[in-house]
Symmetry: C2
Subunit: 485 residues, 2 copies
């Protein structure tokens, strides 16, 4: 086929592209990139391949690497321009990174390390086995080793662990013109030049200047006259999730990080904040579904690890649920007297669980977003009580009609009478109120005692509410149904 056919095919496809949505378009373009790249690789058209990949985004090239054998990975990695190679390297899976570190020559490894930002190198090192870490540190310069070691000391999920140390530092007596000249010299190696940091001789942060301000101010103005002095900063040990929320609250492109002596040690850029937001969101989703969070993609996680992340919670919840069984056992005789009551158990348990989950997820998200605090406890509970009375009355009434109209009249179920209908309706009302109170208060209490509120989501709430709903059910039934006494 070759060139001409490929071009023709491409033209045909162009037309279709317009009909796809963005996600499908990106995927289609990605597939074409892979297809063409594999063809060029097969035909050993390395110059063309290099040119084609040179125009592609690092994330797309990394995805292409998933389709390659290890040897092909190495061939392509060596083809890429140095800077792009380093950008692709960061996007690869740890397995692929490990392979490359093992097979690259020491000088190639040095080149990659020179292009990587220190924080990225530290992230890679954290994922590697000891022998690979040794190779990396051996190839690093003394200065690189020093900074990387510093970064590795910060605890996981702290500001220190996600910050970069490559930023532009200005002095307050620079003019705008001198600053622009300075950026021209040092800017190329910095992760961002769009926020510049003004420090005093002791390295304390005294202000920031944005590139926008530099670009629109007269060249002879002093930095101290245009800098913003009231700078929002974070500390090295601050929690990454809270930092990520600051980006969304204040629309920053970067945030400075200071140490305990208020010296500027690094910055966090918005792209890292987005990654943190995503990572924490996925963790919250996992916890809410009773899964131990895990940062590899589902499709790439081995079955045994998927099992390991799910089984402890299932086991714990199963054991908790056996207590609900005890409640049923203890009312066994009453149930035997009025067997129709058993038929309503699933509906009552499910509705209770759903009502509780609604409240708990709402409150958990409110806590996560900083909109709900423990001191709002009584306000939240009072709100949920009012909501639950409304929900309970609506559902109770609906259930009353359903039981009498459908079960009693339509299906002529002789066991179902007004007594049963009233018991079901009242149980619903009481269960929903209890469920919503439990659902909204447990996450707040968890937060208060330093637990993760997200764990108090649907599965736990459901288990607790199940027991409550059965207790309510049998208690109410005893009042209204003569045979149960």
């Amino acid at each position: 086929m070759e060139e001409r056919d490929l071009l023709l095919r491409q033209d045909e496809d162009e037309i279709e592209l317009d009909e796809l949505d963005l996600e499908e378009r990106i995927q289609e373009q990605q597939e074409r990139l892979v297809e063409k790249a594999l063809l060029l690789l097969e035909n050993k058209q390395y110059a063309d391949l290099r040119e084609m990949l040179g125009d592609a985004e690092p994330a797309d090239i990394a995805e292409f690497f998933d389709e390659l054998t290890e040897k092909q990975t190495l061939v392509i990695y060596r083809l890429l321009p140095k800077e792009l190679a380093a950008e692709v390297f960061i996007e690869l899976d740890p397995d692929q990174q490990e392979y490359l570190i093992r097979v690259l020559s020491e000088s190639e490894l040095k080149e990659t390390l020179d292009e990587l930002y220190y924080d990225d190198t530290a992230d890679v090192i954290e994922e590697m086995p000891a022998s690979v870490v040794k190779r990396i540190l051996a190839a690093a310069s003394p200065e690189q080793r020093r900074v990387i070691n510093e970064l590795l000391k910060y605890p996981e999920d702290s500001a220190g662990s996600i910050m970069t140390t490559e930023f532009v530092r200005l002095k307050k007596d620079f003019t705008v013109g001198e600053s622009l000249e300075f950026i021209r010299k040092v800017g190329i190696d910095k992760e961002t030049i769009y926020t510049c940091y003004v420090t005093d001789p002791q390295n304390h942060l005294i202000g920031i200047v944005t590139a926008k301000e530099l670009l629109i101010s007269p060249l002879d103005k002093k930095i101290e006259d245009i800098m913003t002095e009231n700078v929002i900063y974070v500390k090295t040990l601050d929690d990454q999730e809270q930092i990520a929320f600051m980006f969304s609250r204040y629309d920053f492109l970067a945030l400075p990080v200071v140490d305990n002596e208020d010296r500027l040690v690094g910055i966090i850029t918005v792209d890292d904040a987005i990654d943190v937001l995503q990572e924490e969101t996925e963790e919250d989703f996992a916890k809410m579904a009773a899964i131990t969070p895990n940062d590899t993609e589902y499709m790439k996680t081995p079955v045994i690890r998927v099992w390991a992340s799910r089984i402890p919670w299932l086991l714990l919840l199963m054991i908790s649920a056996t207590f609900t069984g005890l409640i049923i056992s203890s009312f066994e005789n009453s149930l035997a007297a009025v067997p129709i009551l058993t038929a309503f158990i699933p509906m009552l348990m499910d509705t209770g669980g759903n009502s509780g989950s609604q409240a708990s997820v709402t409150v958990i998200r409110g806590i996560s977003l900083g909109q709900v605090e423990f001191r709002d406890f009584f306000k939240v509970v009072w709100k949920e009580i009012r909501v639950s009375v409304l929900c309970g009355v609506t559902l109770g009434t609906a259930a009353l009609f359903k039981v009498m109209l459908v079960d009693h009249l339509l299906m002529k179920n002789a066991d179902v009478d007004w007594n049963v209908a009233v018991v079901v309706a009242l149980t619903l009302l009481a269960t929903i109120i209890c469920a919503k109170i439990i659902g909204c208060s447990l996450p707040l209490l968890a937060k208060r005692i330093g637990f993760d509120p997200a764990v108090m989501a649907s599965p736990f709430i459901t288990t607790i509410v199940d027991a409550v709903s059965l207790l309510v059910y049998f208690t109410v039934a005893k009042q209204f149904i003569p045979q149960m006494r």
Copy 2:
């Protein structure tokens, strides 16, 4: 008290601040800001107040507005420097915005409109009643009206609805020096100057240049020699959630938006992308808890609206759950013969529901993140089958031992024997396998037929799996327990 006392108090507090985590620190600082501002307002020290607020972040000032009466809001709004006032305006609640629009004089409203970006004005207009919209459009210049009307035509959640039209446009034959000069002139009114867009005379996007490239390139270089031609762009009707994911995939600061004729019409900036990510995340959490998404904060949402967002789902799920009741009814006689079986119903239903939710939430998130597609259907199901066999065997064995050791031996429950234990264990195994298959396949099928996969989360899966687990339970019981036949 005044100045000195206030300063002293502040010093005391400084020490404590260090012990707080970031979230608490921000909150504490916010409370101090509010306290001081209220004091200054009370004492009518407007100049000091103006200076203090001038240093604060718009988001913090907007939160401060929540503590004020409407009249105070107006006083403070008038005190703020024009640009800051507009930034604060955007962060306010719609009620507060509406109040200000109604009470500001026409010339004040004009000033605010001049400072707002068009996309922000369009967002405000979408929330306002007709009479307020009229006021805004009357105060707008003909050019402002034209652009705002254009923006309002784009559907909600599309690229067009979140893009801004204020960006820097360069020509390919500009030099770097000319471009910097141009930015110095027009940059102040642009939402970002960090990515500049190169267009041809027909306004087609032909390349981009970052401010970093401009700042580190020789002044006499031509833009066409330094611009990136292979530009990733989106279309006006593309979905905002998919766009937001592109920001996290490619680490962009801004993305260009083109119309159907490939003409550049706007850009989307990373701060808007973060807002979209957050908004969509909250929507997904709500859907997974069977709540209709709602973009006001929980604490500010009236009880009746909370009820309205929850009750349709509770009702729907309650009605679905009554079918599970039918299954129990139809096995009523068997249950009456072996009443102990009822005691295991909650545990079996809960475990089934939890297993199903784990699979469904995992797959739903995978779909959201673009990691799982419909074409992976069989791979996903096969993976979940293997995981579920492992989980089922583990939990089944645990249940077998628990029933025989605890219920039979320890608690000497005569009704519990090997038959019952085996029935429970086998039911668990079968239920978990069914639950995980249902849990992983329904979201994929929903996606396939164009439904939102997030709705196929815990509540729906639980309801379906409840029915399945009971059917399995009674079927297995009939095989092993002689009294049931």
